[in-house]
C-alpha cells in the first residue's frame, strides 16, 4: 500500500495541522505550497503516494489547474485519489471538482478527527 500523502496547500500552518493528523495514522506527509511544486513532488514520488490533499485557492498554479493536470488521461497520476481541502463551498465549484475526478471534499475549518476519518475513507479503510 502507498503510505505517503501529498498535501498541496499554500499555508504552512494548514500543512502542519494536516501533518499532525496524517502522523496519527502512521503515514508520511509530503508537502507542496502550490500546484507547480505539487507536480514536482508527484514526478519524484508518485509510486508511493496514496492520496493527494488539495487546496483550491493558491497563488501560482491553483488547485483546479493542478487537478486537471493530475487527472489528464496520460498524466501517469490519474489513479491517485484526490481530496479537496478548501473553504470553497459553492455548489458549482464542488460539482466541477467532482466532474474532474476528486474522491472526497472537506471544507475548512476541520478538526483532526474529521481529517483522519476522511483520509481513511479515501484510502479504503486500509489505515
Amino acid at each position: 500500500m502507498s503510505t505517503k500523502i501529498l498535501s498541496v496547500d499554500d499555508s504552512a500552518i494548514i500543512r502542519k495541522i494536516i501533518r499532525n493528523g496524517v502522523e496519527l495514522l502512521g503515514l508520511e506527509l509530503l508537502e507542496a505550497s502550490d500546484g507547480e511544486e505539487g507536480l514536482s513532488v508527484l514526478a519524484q514520488e508518485h509510486k508511493d503516494i496514496g492520496l493527494i490533499l488539495l487546496d483550491w485557492n493558491m497563488p501560482g498554479m491553483n488547485g483546479m489547474e493542478f487537478l486537471k493536470r493530475v487527472k489528464a488521461p496520460n498524466s501517469g497520476y490519474k489513479g491517485i485519489p484526490v481530496m479537496m481541502v478548501t473553504t470553497e463551498s459553492e455548489k458549482t465549484a464542488i460539482v466541477q471538482a467532482i466532474q474532474l475526478g476528486v474522491s472526497n471534499y472537506m471544507l475548512k475549518p476541520f478538526d483532526v478527527e474529521e481529517l483522519t476519518k476522511k483520509i481513511r475513507m479515501c484510502l479504503g479503510g486500509k489505515v
Partner: protein, 178 residues
C-alpha cells in the same frame, strides 16, 4: 502614523447602525457573522467565542500590537473583510491549533495562521450569502502587523464592526463596503 485615539479618523467613521445601509449590507448583517467566527475558532482551536457588545467603533480598535488580515470579497457589492487579533493572543492561538510551542513560532507562522482563519471566516460568510443569491469570490489575502497602525478610509464608508471574545482571545471583524 500615530494618532491620539480621540482624534483618529477611524473613530469618526459611520457606525454599523447607519440607517442608509442598502439591501446587500443588510444581508451581510443578517447572515450570522457570529456563527462564522464561532464555528472557525471552535473547529480549529476548541474556543467558544461570544460577541462583545460595543457602544461605538472605538471599542473595536486594538491599541496594542496586532495582526490584521484583509480579504477583498468581489460580488454584487464589493467588500473588504478585515480580521484583527492582538499579536500575543495570536501566538497562543496558533500554538493551540498547531501544537507548535509558542517559543518556536515565527512571525510568518502567525500571519499565515491569521490569514487562514480569515479565509475560513470569509468562506463561511460566502456560504451563507450564496443561497440568498449573492455570489462572491475572494482575492488572495494581505497581512498587516505591528504596533499602533490604523486602517484608514473615508468617514462615510459603510461598514460593519464586531468584536468577539473567547477565554483570553479577542478578535475584531470589520466589513467595509467599497
Amino acid at each position: 502614523m500615530d494618532f491620539p485615539n480621540q482624534q483618529h479618523p477611524l473613530l469618526n467613521m459611520s457606525s454599523s447602525n447607519d440607517p442608509d445601509n442598502n439591501e446587500i449590507e443588510m444581508k451581510f448583517k443578517s447572515i450570522f457573522l457570529f456563527n462564522a467566527v464561532h464555528d472557525v475558532l471552535q473547529a480549529m482551536a476548541g474556543i467558544s467565542m461570544n460577541e462583545v457588545k460595543v457602544e461605538s467603533v472605538k471599542d473595536v480598535h486594538f491599541t496594542e500590537s496586532c495582526v490584521s488580515t484583509v480579504y477583498f470579497m468581489n460580488g454584487p457589492k464589493n467588500a473588504m473583510l478585515i480580521v484583527s487579533i492582538p499579536t500575543a493572543q495570536a501566538y497562543t492561538l496558533v500554538s493551540a491549533f498547531t501544537r507548535i510551542p509558542v517559543s518556536e513560532l515565527r512571525p510568518d507562522n502567525i500571519s499565515d495562521a491569521v490569514d487562514e482563519i480569515t479565509n475560513m471566516i470569509s468562506g463561511k460568510i460566502k456560504a451563507q450569502l450564496s443561497p440568498l443569491g449573492y455570489q462572491y469570490t475572494n482575492s488572495h489575502c494581505f497581512s498587516i502587523y505591528g504596533k499602533e497602525y490604523f486602517i484608514l478610509h473615508k468617514s462615510k464608508l459603510k461598514n460593519i464592526a464586531k468584536k468577539y471574545k473567547g477565554g483570553t482571545l479577542e478578535l475584531v471583524l470589520r466589513i467595509l463596503f467599497i
